[in-house]
Every structure is written in structure tokens, then in C-alpha cells.
């Protein structure tokens, strides 16, 4: 089941990066905690419905810049635009992921993407963790679902 969640997380993310910004990604086996230098930009999106939890996505600034560039084109994006573009991509990933887990009949309320910096850690352990490798650097995704702890189940 945990493996299944990770596959769904991977597929939702890989599809989104490819569709939105032509960023091809590969799943890395056995992801470790990302180094701080690789987590320069981070976003958390909460969801609440038949289950509740959050998705956190982190990456180096270079990836967020690539995303903002492909979404906006033109001039070098500002830090705000990088964060905003990364948040919007995270929104799309969450929008793909939730129906793949819960089916498309159930309704979830999804929070606006929040900068991860300065946030309280979540009270649950991760339910799924995936690292994607791309030409622009690594992207880490951690899914938290209340009462669905990866550690407690493996």
C-alpha cells in the first residue's frame, strides 16, 4: 500500500513536470533526506476531505527558476515569481494526486500553497516519499496523511 502511494505520488509529479514545463524526471530509488542546499525552495499544500494531510515539495532554486521561466517566458523571474510558479506546479500535482488515491467522486478542500520556510513540522510521519532526478537537479516530494505513517507500516 505504501509502495502504491509512492508510485501514485511519482506518477502525478512526473506527469505534471513534463506537461507544464517539459521537465523530464526519473524516480530515484530509496530516497534519502535531501541536503539543505537542495531544499532552497519549499512548498506545503494541505488537504482535507475523507482523509487529511499535506504534500510538501522541495527543490533547488535553479529548478524553480526553470519552472517560472517556462511558465512566464521573458525576463529573469523574481524570487516571488519562482515561489509562486513552484506553488502552482505543486497545486497541479496535488490536483492529480488526490483523485488517484481517493477516486474522483470525493471532494477535498485544498489550501493555497504556503512557503515551507518557518512552518511548524507536521504531527505525522511521512506516508510516502519520492525523489525525482532531473537535468536541473533533484525534486523531493513528501506526502503526509494523518494515521498513515510509512514508518509504522514498513
Amino acid at each position: 500500500m505504501a509502495m502504491d502511494l509512492e508510485t501514485k505520488l511519482y506518477q502525478s509529479a512526473a506527469r505534471t513536470f513534463e506537461e507544464v514545463c517539459f521537465l523530464l524526471t526519473l524516480r530515484e530509488p530509496g530516497p534519502e533526506l535531501p541536503a539543505a542546499s537542495e531544499r532552497e525552495i519549499g512548498v506545503r499544500i494541505g488537504f482535507d476531505g475523507v482523509f487529511h494531510g499535506a504534500l510538501e515539495i522541495t527543490c533547488p532554486a535553479s529548478i524553480a527558476e526553470h519552472l517560472a521561466n517556462s511558465m512566464l517566458g521573458g525576463d529573469k523571474p523574481t524570487a516571488q515569481q519562482r515561489q509562486d510558479a513552484f506553488g502552482e506546479i505543486s497545486n497541479v500535482i496535488t490536483g492529480n494526486l488526490l483523485p488517484s488515491i481517493a477516486g474522483d467522486k470525493l471532494v477535498f478542500d485544498v489550501t493555497a500553497p504556503a512557503t515551507l520556510e518557518g512552518q511548524q513540522p507536521l504531527p505525522w510521519g511521512p506516508s510516502a516519499r519520492v525523489r525525482l532526478r532531473s537535468d536541473e537537479g533533484p525534486i523531493d516530494l513528501v506526502l503526509y496523511i494523518e494515521d498513515y505513517d510509512l514508518g509504522a507500516r514498513s
Binding site: V20, G73, Q81, E88, V92, L98, D104, K105, V107
Partner: protein, 142 residues
């Protein structure tokens, strides 16, 4: 006739993308008004003439579904053409939005998708028997 469009999304990057798509999708564009959430959108709707609203769902302060409810409850805005542009994945919510006379476009979308939705919506507007009331907007070849 040029189409005045309101773009409602909490992401400035997404508003810029929607505006870019509008300019590429082959419709004759008039004024484009932006709002970052439902509250701002209602304020701007009260003071500007808008033919079509493109609305995100997940927004702080007032989300897109609540905004659509307000639009349909107010006599002045009830006939407004609305397309919801969102990452929403729940068919239940999408049906709910459609039952309130909105069309739905999933993110990510192409300018072509957007143009087709707008043309179809305006075609419906001019058509008959669709049951959809909408503002009397006329476009180039719609």
C-alpha cells in the same frame, strides 16, 4: 465586439499565464481585469463591465466555488459567463460547478483549449435551448 475578461487566481504567475493564453487564443480581447481572490473579484465586478470571468477554485479569503455562488445570487451578475480554471480533480465538485452554469477547464491547459471553451460558451450564449442564460456578448465569428 471585444470581450472584457476578469481573471481570478491567487497566483500572479497563473494570472499572467491565463492572460498570455487569452491573447493567443484568437478571441478579440477588450479589457482584462485581475483579482487575487473571490472578495477582490466581487469588488471589481461591482465597478467594471465584465463579459467573461475565468475563475480558479483554490484561493484564500473566498474560493472559486463560493465566488460562483455569490455571482449566481446577485441579480446583476447572475448571467455572467464563467469558466472555472482549476486543478480540481473531484468530479463531484466539477458537476456542482457546472450545475451553476460554469464551464470547467483543467490546469494545465493550452491557449487552444481556452479559446475553444470560450467560443463554445459564447456560441451557447447566442444559441437557444441550452438553458444557459448569459450576457449578450457578440464576438467576431462566434
Amino acid at each position: 465586439m471585444k470581450l472584457n475578461v476578469m481573471v481570478v487566481d491567487d497566483s500572479a504567475v497563473m494570472r499572467a499565464m491565463v492572460k498570455k493564453s487569452l491573447s493567443l487564443c484568437g478571441i478579440e480581447l477588450g479589457e482584462v481585469v485581475e483579482a487575487a481572490n473571490g472578495v477582490e473579484a466581487l469588488e471589481k465586478l461591482a465597478s467594471s463591465w465584465v463579459d467573461l470571468a475565468l475563475i480558479d477554485v483554490n484561493m484564500p479569503k473566498m474560493n472559486g466555488e463560493e465566488l460562483l455562488n455569490h455571482i449566481r445570487e446577485d441579480e446583476a451578475t447572475v448571467p455572467l459567463n464563467v469558466i472555472v480554471i482549476s486543478t480540481e480533480g473531484s468530479e463531484t465538485r466539477i458537476s456542482r460547478l457546472k450545475s451553476k452554469g460554469a464551464r470547467f477547464l483543467r490546469k494545465p491547459f493550452s491557449p487552444e483549449n481556452l479559446g475553444n471553451q470560450i467560443r463554445e460558451m459564447l456560441g451557447e450564449t447566442h444559441g437557444d435551448g441550452s438553458g444557459n442564460q448569459a450576457l449578450p456578448v457578440s464576438g467576431p465569428d462566434f
